[in-house]
Symmetry: C2
Subunit: 140 residues, 2 copies
Amino acid sequence: MALMAPTQQVKRRATNQGAAVKEALAAEDTFRSAQDVYATLRASGEKIGLSTVYRHLQIFVDDGLADVIHKPDGESTYRLCGDASTTHHHHLVCRSCGKAVEIEGPAVETWADKVAAQHGFSDVNHTVEIFGLCTTCAAS
Amino acid sequence: MALMAPTQQVKRRATNQGAAVKEALAAEDTFRSAQDVYATLRASGEKIGLSTVYRHLQIFVDDGLADVIHKPDGESTYRLCGDASTTHHHHLVCRSCGKAVEIEGPAVETWADKVAAQHGFSDVNHTVEIFGLCTTCAAS
DNA sequence: TGACATAATGAAAATGATTCCCGATAAGAC
DNA sequence: GTCTTATCGGGAATCATTTTCATTATGTCA
């Protein structure tokens, strides 16, 4: 019961910066790091601070608008998701360009829950990410 | 073809520090961070530097002796594994104490490969970790 | 066994992502 | 328009991890 509905929105002001961050993410279907988004925005002349980028990315995650993937090197990458609040899904991610495809695996969900239950674990969740090279990147 | 066999050992000297790090990991069946292992070793009077701990943990991973899990907060945790070189497996991890159980899911492996293939991804691998609270931690 | 080449070590400095701080700014309410 | 306060943002602070490099210790070979 420790989890609250991700759709539980908090009163939030509309700001240019917030919109800019969302647009930057929406512009591509790839997982992007905060540093990357920040650099892109600044490069396009946007007036925004690094802290603000981090703040909004975290807000998106809290509101269930974006998914996060923690890369092996420790960097966090974000991507907007269609309707994360209602659809639990995973990703097939290109480890070269970051392009991602949302995938579902009902069987995996039930398997995970069953395994956890067998070992007496409660309050379970899981992470499943598939990495590979997309056709474009594999060509180069 | 970029991957080499994890069992491909490199000439390596036997040192007290290396043994100490391995012992520290072997002492518990939980995923532990480098900082944690370092603190434990120093507390027990071991003469070892932080860099050395990091070095050996990485070596274990390279040699297929240990598995890594990158926690959401960015910290990497390590655990020795029975025979990682021959058995591909995943983990059911207690998010409170780090205790882990090795699990297998052949169905998940095939599913992952199939999904990747359907989208034209090559050179595929995946991460599957199940997090929860073990019975002990759930009680407190 | 003794000398040597060099892998391993570790203290300190460097790195890099992320968070914190706090005075300045601007969104929304009245 | 005025006011309240959420939001900004630049810079300092954290923190895990990596790098540097002079010192130490291991395995080898004579």
